[in-house]
Structure formats: C-alpha cells, structure tokens
Symmetry: D2
Subunit: 297 residues, 4 copies
C-alpha cells in the first residue's frame, strides 16, 4: 500500500496500558500557558528512566476554559496510580503553581479516578488560602507574590495507552526529521494524545531487552539503524534509507491514537525524501494493543 | 538608591551551596539543540520537590563546540553528587540520547569531579557502539535509528550556588511579568548561570518553613503577596504595588551570579510600571551566601 | 455594560471598504509555510503609506490544502483592484516563489474577481515551466533551485472591510500590551480576518486629518494619549489609565469582523489591569461601516 | 578543497553596490523589538520587485542601546538615496512608530549621509511632540496611545554591497534546507550583514536576464535546477544532488560579507547530506564585487 507514493508497510504498532492524568493549564496569554505546560511536562519522555511520560496535548482558547483564558491540556502518564499521584503533586506544585499567571484545572472531570491535587497544593497558602467555586468547579485561591493562584480541587485520571507509534524511513536524516516535525504538528491538533519525546520525536527507537548487555530493559533497535545496515544480519533498513525517526504516541483510548497515527503519517509522506512508513512491534513483549498501519487508511 | 527611577532596596539575596553539572548539547541546527536542552531541563525548578534544578545557560554557535554545530549549555543541580549522577544518567539518557540530532559534551572538562556518563550510556548500543576521539575528547559513537549518537565519556561537575535572586515589585502583574521576561532574556546572555523556574520566572516566591502548616518546608511568602497587603501585619508590599515576580538564579560561582543579578535588574527597571527591586533572604535559614543589591551597581 | 468587570463603552468602530485578495501558502512544514507568509505580509500595516495592508489570517493543516501540506491563509488589501494586482505580482513573486518549500493557492476560488497570478509568475521558469492540474485546480510547475514551485493559475479577490477595531484602555502600558497580545491570539483563530499591524497591535492609534499639520492625512489621536491626559481638553483617557492599544481588523465581511472583535475583546478583558474597552470612530470621515461594541455581546 | 568532507567549489560570488540605511529598533522586551523589526523588514527580499531589500542584522541587549532596552539592528537597502529616503519614511513611520513599545535610533551615527527621519515623523505628533536629547542623541518624543514614541532625529546610510552569496547543494531538499537554516543562524551573529530573503533563504536562485522570455530581468537559473538536470545542457547539478538553496547576503562592506559567507558555509557543511558549496556569478552582468569561496578559508 502506498500513500503519496510512499510505502505503508503491512505491519502494526504495539502499545501497552498506562495511567493518564489530564490537566488544563491556563495563563494570561497563550504564551504563558505554554511556558507552564512545557516546564511541567519536561523530563518526561519514557517511563524507562523518567519519573513520568508527559506532553502537551492541545492548545485551547478562552471559550473552552473555566476562567476564559487561553490554555493547554497536558497529560502525565505512569504505570500506576500511586506513582501518578506523586508525579502530579510534584509537577503541578513545582511547575504550575510557580509559573507566571498559570492556573490549573481538571482535564478529566468525568473520570472515576480523581486526585485531590488542588486540596494538597492549597497548604502552600499557609492559612491564607480559601475555597472558591468557578463555573461549578470546586477550587482554591492561594495568595502568591504574583497574585492569586487558582487550583481546582480534583485532577482526574484514567486508563490509557502508551507506545502507539510509527516509524519514518527516509533518504537521509534531515528528510526524516522534517517529516517527523510535520507529523508532530499534525498530531498536536488531535484531541486526546501526546507525543512525549523531545520535540515529539524519537531519535533512538529501541527494542525491548538486549542481545549483549542483558542488564538493560531496552537497547538500540539495531535492525533499524542506518549506520549498521551492512553490519547486522536481517537489517530492516532499505538500501536507499539513511535516516529514521519514530513518533511515539500516548493517548486516552485506541481511537485517538489511531487518529493521531493517521494524521501524522499523512503529514509525513508529504515531505520529499520519505521512502517508507513502518511501525515498532516486539512480539507482544511490550504490550497487548495493536495498531495496524494499513487499516488506518 | 535608584536605577532608572526605580528604588533598589538596601537588602540582599540569600543563597545556598549546590552541586552543578554542566553539559553542552549540540544539534544539527540551533532549534534542535534547544529542543533537546528544553526536554532535558524540564521538571527542574526547585529541589524542594523536583528531582533536580535545571536550566539552559547559554546558546553557542559552532565555533565554540567540538563538533562545529550550534549548541546550548545546560546545568543540572542537586544537593549531592550521588543524586546528581542519578539525574545525569536519567536526563541525558532519556532526553538527550533520544532527541533529534543531539550530541552531548562535557561542559566542565577542567572540573575535578567527573562522571563517566558517556560510558554508561554507550551500553544502549548493545555492542554496536565504539569509542572515538573528537577534538581530543574521548567519546562514544552509539548507532541509533536516526544515525550515530555521540556522547562524551565524561561530564564534569563542581560546587556551585543556588538561590541567587531578586524580586521585582510593580504596579500590576503584567508590568512585573514583562520586566521579569526582559530580565531573564538579559541573564540568558551571561555565561555560567541559569534561571531554573518556568520561563526563568518565579510567581510563587516562598519563605522557608510555615506559620500554620508546620509539615511544609516552604510556604507562600505572605509579606510579599499583593492580595494580602491589607490582611497581614508587616506586609512588605507598598501601596502602589499589585504584582511581584522573583527571579531565581543558580550559577557556578559568586561572580556569575552577581553579574546575572546586575544584568537582570538593569533590564527590569527599564520596563514601565516597575516600582522597586528587592531580594529574598531568610535570616540565614536558607544558606550562607549573601548578594547585596546596592553593591552590584 | 461590563464584561468580566471591564466597562464596554457604548460606542462603535468605524470602518471602510477595501479590496482583499486571499492566498493560501503551503510549505513542507508549518514553520516554513509561516516563514513565507510572514515575509509576504510584511511592510503591510496601513495603506496610508504602505503599498498594501496584509496579514496572516489562519493556519491550516494538510487536510484543508490542495497539496496535503500545512499552510497559512494570508490577505492582501488595497483600495482598488489595479493596485491589488500589482501588489500580488510583487509580493507573491518576490516573497512566496522565493521562499523555502512554499506553494501558492487560490484562497477565494469562488470569487468573481480572479487575477491570473500563477500565469504571470510562470514566466520566471524561462520556458521550463509546465501547466498541471492539482485537485482540479489549474496550476503551473516552475523549476527552481530548490525543486519545483507550484503556483495556482488564479488568485481570487473580493470587496472587504478594513479598519474594524477596538481600543484597550489599561492601568499601564504592559497590561494593555498583554491584553492586546491575547486578543490577537484569539482573533487568529477566526476565519476571514487579519490584524495587519506589527504583532497585530497598533501603538499609535490615529485620528483622520490634523489640527496643526494640515498636510497630514492622519495624526496622533491626542484625546487617547495617556501622556497628554492633563494637557488636552476633552481627553478621553480616564484618570486610572496610562496605557492604550488599538486592535485593527480587516476582513471579508461584516460578520467575521464582528466575530473577531467579540473574540478579541473577550480575551482582552481577562488580563488583569484592563479598565475599559472603547473603539475608534471619526464622524463618518473614515468610512460607512459601523460596529457597535455592546451589540457584539 | 573540502570542508568537513564537503567540496568547496573553486568559484566566486558576484555582488553589486547598494545604499544601506541602518536602524536600531528597541522595545520593552526582546520579543517586542523583534516584532517591530520583522514588520519593518518584510516585503523586502529583492529590489527586482520589492521596494527595498531589508532584514534584521543582529539582536543586542540593553547595554548596547541608548535607552537601555533590548533591540535589533535592521538594514534597509535600495539602489539610490532618493528611494532609500522614501522607504525609510514609509517603513519607519508605518512599521516602527506603530509597533508596540518600539523606539528608533540611528544605526550609523558616524555616516556622512544622514536622513532626518525623526524630524519627519514628529509631525505625526500634531504639535504635541517635543525635542529631547538621550545619551547625546537629538530625538523627538511623540505622544501616542500607548505612551511616548522616541525617534532619533537622524538615520544614517552608506554605500554597501548586495548579493554576496553562496549555494548549498545537497542530497535532497530537506538536507539543503536544514543546512540553509543553520547557515542563516550563524550569519545572524555577524555584525553588519543581513540575509534579506524569507527566513534568510532563497529557494529560487536566478540568472540575470532570460533565454526565452526576454522581457524579464531575472529568470530561473536552470543549470542549478535539480528537476532539470537531465533536461538542460550544461547542468551544474551533480548526479547525487536533488535540492539546492542559495543564501544571499547584503552588508556594509566586503569584510563583513566575507565573514558572513565563511560563518554560513562552516555551519552548512556540518549538516548531513550536503554535497557541495558553490556560488552565483554572472560574468560581471550583476556587479563588480567578487568573493572567492576558497579564499574565505
């Protein structure tokens, strides 16, 4: 199957379950909402060694926020709810409450699982805080140097999916990178997903486990390494390919991950120099979800 | 004392010792170096609850880097070298090695303390990695999907200073924020310092300890809260002030912190609506370093 | 009438007829589409002395463009079609055809007035160009150093409206500016309008004609100048206002200008320090269109 | 000759004389200085059909500006001083005076040729303006809605050089573009030069005159068009090259253009996929200045 002349491989992305909290951060302007969102979601690429996977989901305008100000939805993801609660407390307390003009709101008000994050943060007010209601949402007003910080009482979380992915194979590194950038831009408009890696892009797509260094949980996926294509047996790098990037997608459910994969692939194949789209799967050692590439179209 | 008509209070910033690692991240373009640097230094505002304090120090061009590509110096700071080593391994492994086109270099090659981070990361290569020397620096070439990742063997660290600061008091929040933004821009040109908070700016300047909630190590600095100025005794918020931001600065030594405070204050007082510059000190409960504001000029 | 506690004055914006061409510029990535759009719409604030008024209307993803790539709609406005044709030829030829990865498409394919801009630009191909059809659109493929430039045969234009506006009165300059920035962000999501001034914002709102220097068509609107509030009779600057910005809006019809004024004002009043929203009108000396502020809500 | 393994062709760039005015625009923050600079230098790629060539030369901090605020030097270039004066009046009046928080200063105070631009703009003040002196510079304070606009009396101009250039030949378009972007970043740090095309990059490098359409002054340089390499005789596109960008540089003198070419080429050759660096020359039909590529190193 081809899309804009680019081969879509008959393969699938393998993904795994994760817990996802979703927070809406608003700010005085779009810029300041994004400054807070960016700090809060940093050091959040992979749970292999980051304390969480995190990213900015979507920018929204004041018509869609409780305080009428522009904002950004972010997602924070961990393997269990206990780790998630700890990450929420740390990241929201240190990166949203401290951020210029930011306020924080529940991004999953209908979820069964709710963490009383606003309640926990209010103690920073040292007795000067107060409870308020904004658009029917229970929140706290915490006096700060900059003015009052508004934190909603609850932050919701739910079961989600991590590791949705596709792989862009290109003539060279810069073509692959431009396609990856365009894919991430396209995915940034889809509600419900994030691309947690730097700039949304993975330069070091891995395999589970190791051949040589067995103490490692993940090592380089040598069969997709262009500089090894003539050195490893069974290399999956075609002769005309010299640069490869992977886009990894986390999201609230299968549908939004499919939507994001579709949007990202459609954008990527428009960039000149792209040769093939593939996906990462690991024989079920990573997780139970499968996203077949060709079925997306 | 006045600067551009703005009062510089006769007070001082109180700061404390910290350990600082310094890394140079290069990329194919300035943009991609910054993408890696940003992810690596996120979730890094305050060691109160972040695993490290971190920030981008300075952007450099290819004339100043081992691989001739544009780059950015970053700093990662923790209270001890053990925590620092762990943070380096996690942040460099998960946020630099994964980042599009990034390479990592020792930002303190002359420091006594050196961590063999490149050596530790090379195992991701699963046996396909190799040792190389670039501009006399021992490094590793690790094959990745995107191409080869270059990681220098050593990353240096040293004793540094955290918590250098000044406080901008303004007519309202937006004036204070514009001044803070301009101060951060000015400091970004000074070698050796970072401003680790979101956008370089602290909206929630704190006091050590608490009056009411004694289980907290830091709580809101109510005497600097504009919305409490008529509610707390001894408020330090002048009648004409309604917005306050703090700039917190970490750096390699006293001189660069002084330089950054000077540059930041000079920039801040040029913004209309700024009423006063002060600084945070806590009777020695925070740390041993003192930076007198008026002596900066 | 008040919105979020800010007075909306009982007044109206006065606007005038203009001719508007609308072009869709696509690029390999969103960034490169915007680079082209920005150069093309520069030096385009006011027809008083700019050869055209111009701005970026809206960013779109590949689902909404003929070539499946991300893009940006721009508008170019002049008083008559002759001037418009000249501006189109110059701006599209010099700023789109030269731009990295850009292509140009008709943004008003249904308009009665069509300029054969693609046809005129094809001669740059010096005989190596060819006619093609993309998604049913007649276009030309012009070989360039970077590859082939695609230019649609026709670029449509229509009667539009210039000078829709509102005025933000604030406690000080920085509060007014933050509100103006947020207003421009909000308007950037409305289809059909542009804000042609620098950053979408006018710092120098004018009156028609002059009191003293009669040779000028427009001079400073002294009754809205904060630094003159105690010097001119009939100043419209309230005692608590010290910074004022105007947002000027051009658009395809009355409805989209109303929508943009509404969105912009709603965003502006959320910024702390805003005291009042007004609008510019000149007793009918500027033009026939009236947009009553209070009727927007 | 090779640089980082990339062939530097034994050829030269041909350039021509132009008149250059240089203006320093300052703003409340770096961002706002750049907003003004960008609008002012837009629609300014080539004098073939733009009213001027223009670009941002260099960003400076408050230590280097008369008002202590951050700023950006821009250049505006035309063939003669009469056209230059007209462009200055229009661009500074419409794009700097209108811009949020901007002020304008003489960027060539020592030049023999001086235009009394501040004097001409002061009439916008309609009698409310006043003369002032700042750091020994004669200027005007013009009351505006946003506050007072400061315009220096004189703006200097001098003989300069346009059309300094080099050409980046790459494996494909995206590699060429990344190299061009990195080159432009490097040049942006060199004092005295601009890269006037969109994003600093030319996608449509031309030859003087035409083969077929003789009424055109410049047409596509078919010998450098990758999609024509098998169709035109004497194509200069090597077999392994499929994407080419040109960087065009204007500057105050030969030295700064040489410095910029050197910095740009050094940056470009570091990007993977670059095959060759060449330059544009036209047998003396364009101009008298020659910049030999190999002599730069």
């Amino acid at each position: 199957m081809e899309l804009n002349g680019v081969e879509i491989e008959d393969t699938f992305a393998e993904a795994f379950p994760i817990k996802i909290a979703r927070i809406l951060i608003t700010g005085a302007t779009r810029k300041w909402a994004l400054v807070a969102a960016q700090e809060t979601t940093g050091f959040g690429t992979s749970v292999i060694m980051c304390p969480a996977e995190a990213g900015i989901e979507k920018v929204v305008n004041g018509n869609e926020t409780p305080d009428g100000r522009p904002g950004a939805y972010i997602q924070i993801c961990t393997f269990g709810y206990k780790a998630l609660e700890e990450q929420l407390l740390k990241r929201l307390g240190q990166c949203v409450m401290t951020a210029p003009t930011a306020a924080m709101w529940n991004g999953l008000p209908g979820a069964e699982k709710q963490f009383d994050m606003g309640f926990k943060l209010k103690f920073f007010g040292d007795g000067f805080e107060s409870e308020i209601a904004i658009e029917g949402r229970k929140a706290y007003k915490i006096p700060l140097m900059q003015g009052d910080f508004i934190a909603e009482h609850n932050i919701g979380a739910q079961d989600g999916i991590a590791g949705g992915n596709f792989i862009i194979l290109a003539e060279n590194q810069m073509a692959a990178l431009a396609a990856a950038e365009s894919a991430v831009d396209a995915i940034s408009e889809i509600e419900g997903t994030i691309t947690p890696f730097p700039g949304g892009i993975v330069g070091s797509g891995s395999k589970t486990g190791a051949n040589k260094y067995k103490f490692l949980k993940a090592t380089t996926n040598e069969k997709f390494c262009p500089t090894l294509k003539n050195k490893v047996e069974g290399s999956l790098v075609p002769p005309d390919v010299n640069g490869i990037y992977e886009i990894v997608i986390n999201g609230l459910n299968k549908e939004v991950i499919s939507d994001s994969m579709r949007a990202g692939i459609k954008a990527a194949v428009r960039v000149p120099g792209i040769k093939k789209i593939s996906a990462g799967n690991y024989g079920g050692t990573l997780g139970p979800y499968k996203f077949n590439l060709q079925e997306l179209f």
